[in-house]
């Protein structure tokens, strides 16, 4: 029988969402050690998570510079010795802060874990923040900032978060040259003492986690400094600001960057999961309405997308693109029109079905492999959920109805609530 290529092969319902769950071992120090054992390679990733995000700082940049400076010298090792030591074992080290927390991560081959951890423990308990290293990092970052300020995408982000959350809030603040210059060693040491020293929230290990990996980590995590004994601090996360439109002129730019969006609730809200689906319809995947309209039909851009961002205390939703600057007005009209269509016209069963399947497939990809599984767990932990959150997510997506999505579009995608930033 010859093959009929015009007929698509049957495709099955997307299921099989049995997630490999993270396990918990309480350590003597009172600290929780979490681990997920998956994958075929003898590698591990160890995340040390601290309450040391910009929400914990009382001066701009403290959180990010403390994270950046952690490995720039300890009482025992210089920056070069730390880098040499970790690099020698082929390990990768990273430390970065977000608005909500800070994560120090070690990636290495399992057999080198025992050799690498002493460096990490040192960094987390005895970092010295040398003046000389700080000066270089500040200088280089100021120069990097100058370059970033030439990028549409950077300017868009900065103005967007400023506009939504306020320039002095945890979620809206961006470093200026002046903020960077004001950072000094004393401030960093103080931030470190308050937010790292004895302030570890938890340790999360992913990869091929054998018994020996667990016992190695437990051995070091027993060090008295690495225990959890702090209370979360709080400050202003976001200010109450009216939606605004702003235009930032950038001479010579051959494209206009556009970000349109608003503050939105975070993951803890009952409508969040359905809103994720609605966002997907509009701009959350390659086949989205915005991609189809603005790229595949009108060819105004290389790419356009929309996204929901969930912080611990707040959230936002936005659309972003870089568009042919001669046709900017047309692009804006088309974008607002697509949002309007979501409010006014019910999505077809066919399109909804595609979006549901894509979203479930995408979820399946997001739980593939040990590191993805660790990331999914981190999200649960941040918001105080258990794994039911994901199983409910799957059910919510499967059961979503067109009427409900239209209702959500009317509730949350009103034009009057949207801020608009244009650069270029």
């Amino acid at each position: 029988m010859s093959l009929n290529r015009a007929i698509a092969p049957n495709s099955a319902e997307i299921k099989n969402f049995n997630i490999i769950e993270v396990q918990k071992i309480p350590l003597d120090s009172g600290l929780d050690l979490y681990y997920v054992n998956a994958g075929n390679e003898d590698v591990v990733r160890v995340d040390f998570v601290f309450n040391a995000g910009s929400r914990n700082q009382n001066q701009k940049c403290l959180a990010s510079y403390t994270a950046q400076m952690l490995s720039e010298g300890t009482k025992r090792f210089s920056a070069k010795q730390l880098a040499d030591g970790l690099d020698y074992f082929g390990a990768y080290f990273s430390a970065h802060s977000s608005a909500d927390d800070a994560t120090v991560t070690l990636y290495c081959i399992s057999k080198h874990l025992d050799s690498c951890l002493p460096f990490i423990v040192d960094v987390l308990s005895d970092s010295t923040f040398p003046e000389e290293e700080l000066k270089i990092i500040k200088n280089n970052n100021i120069q990097r900032l100058l370059v970033n300020e030439q990028r549409n995408s950077f300017l868009l982000r900065r103005h967007f978060y400023n506009t939504l959350f306020g320039g002095n809030s945890a979620y809206g603040s961006f470093a200026t040259q002046n903020d960077i210059e004001k950072i000094d060693r004393i401030g960093l040491v103080d931030f470190y003492n308050k937010n790292y020293f004895g302030a570890l929230r938890f340790v999360l290990v992913s990869g091929r986690v054998s018994d020996s990996v667990i016992s190695t980590i437990s051995k070091y995590a027993k060090t008295p400094h690495l225990s959890n004994n702090t209370v979360d601090k709080s400050q202003v996360f976001s200010e109450s600001i009216e939606p605004q439109k702003s235009f930032i002129k950038k001479p010579g730019s051959v494209q206009s960057g556009i970000r349109i969006g608003r503050k939105m609730f975070n993951r803890t809200h009952k409508d969040y999961r359905e809103l994720q689906l609605l966002n997907l319809v509009l701009g959350g995947y390659f086949g989205s309405r915005l991609m189809k309209k603005i790229r595949e039909e009108s060819a105004l851009t290389y790419g356009i997308y929309s996204a929901l961002e969930s912080f611990r205390e707040d959230g936002c939703w936005y659309i972003e693109t870089e568009i042919n600057h001669h046709l900017r007005e047309r692009g804006l009209t088309e974008i607002y029109n697509e949002i309007k269509k979501l409010r006014e016209i019910k999505i077809s069963e066919n399109e909804l079905n595609t979006c549901k399947n894509y979203m479930l497939g995408s979820f399946l990809r997001s739980i593939d492999g040990p590191f993805s599984l660790a990331d999914r767990f981190k999200t649960l932990h941040d918001f105080g959920f258990d794994y039911n959150y994901y199983y409910t997510f799957v059910e919510t997506i499967k059961n979503a109805r067109p009427e409900r999505l239209q209702e959500l579009a009317n509730l949350y995608f009103s034009e009057k609530d949207l801020s608009e930033i244009i650069v270029g």
Binding site: L3, N40, D87, V147, G252, G361, G369
Partner: protein, 413 residues
Amino acid sequence: MINYSKFKLQNGLTVIHHLDESTKLCVLNVLYNVGSKHENPEKTGFAHLFEHLMFGGSANVTDFDGELQKAGGESNAFTSNDLTNYYLTLPANNIETGFWLESDRMLGLNLDQEKLDIQRSVVIEEYKERYLNQPYGDIWLKVLPLAYKVHPYSWPTIGKELSHIEGATIEDVKEFFGRFYCPNNAILAVSGNISFDDCKRLCEKWFADIPQRQFNPVTILKEPKQLAPRQETVYADVPLDAIVKAYHIPARTDGAFYSLDFISDLLGAGKSSRFFNELVKKQNLFSELDVYISGDVEEGLLVIEGRLTKCVNMLDAEKSILNELERFKLEGVSADELQKVKNKTETNIRFNNMTALSKAMKLSYCELLGNIELANTEAEDYLAVSAEDIALSATTLLIENNCSTLYYYSKQK
């Protein structure tokens, strides 16, 4: 260790199978042996433009992505100097949809003027977004023609100039498809939770009846040995001066490639590297300084790319790089340094082997290089590199007669 099996269909399509039972996904990776180096120098950017057109529907499928998304899948592609690589990921039980879609667009594309017009404009916006509207975005457009006088690596994948993309006609793209997109010019890797038997059955079912095509291989001119230093100076609207130094290096399959890869790491990768400690931190001449290799199949480049600290003189900065290179040649590499880059490479290889997709890509690429076993033996090749190999590569290749230098000055001062 990546286990695999390989077989060839009657029409010349090479198939690689890799079973990974730890995933619920399955991946199809189709590598076509066509990249920007196969283009006509007067019509550059075609391989990449064509990649865009491959998503516009095929003989029996109107909406490639729509059908894939309906089955829970996702796809993308990239084009390089050497190849065009398409990949899709699906829940393993829906992988047949992938076979249907990939085979249909290998069989025949739905090319029309309107689709071409749209994708031409999309690529032009991509060109602007990545190359013209980014600070330092055009560096590559300047360095390549300086380093390559004859070989087609002299133009970037996106195209030599916008006018080449603007001028692409429907006849051009049809000719391009007919010439390069056939089973005997492709490698299919099937990776993930799928048995060999299912893989074989589905390959036979969907790909076997696609006709083989005769095509004349493109003759690629060899780049003559560079005999004297080359320099170019440009002024651009950027905040800081930059410098790029590009040295010719051997092909990917040449034994010396591994030592050059190590050299780029020793000089410029991470906070333990020589350049970072000496030139960024100690002398503070650069705010950023990277060293990397271009990673091409044929003779490529080792590139040193730096942004100068404000007020540092360009020639002083260059001199500091040259001094460090001399010191490197003179001192050689220490046992610890060599062990370090070997350990790093082992880490990179292991972390890269973690997903069905990355394994599929690696197997396909090694097959294109002519030795699929390389996917498993390259770790040993790296381990075999000696301090003498590194010294030899450094002294023979990291010399000014083999170098193209771009002085990229800020107009904003």
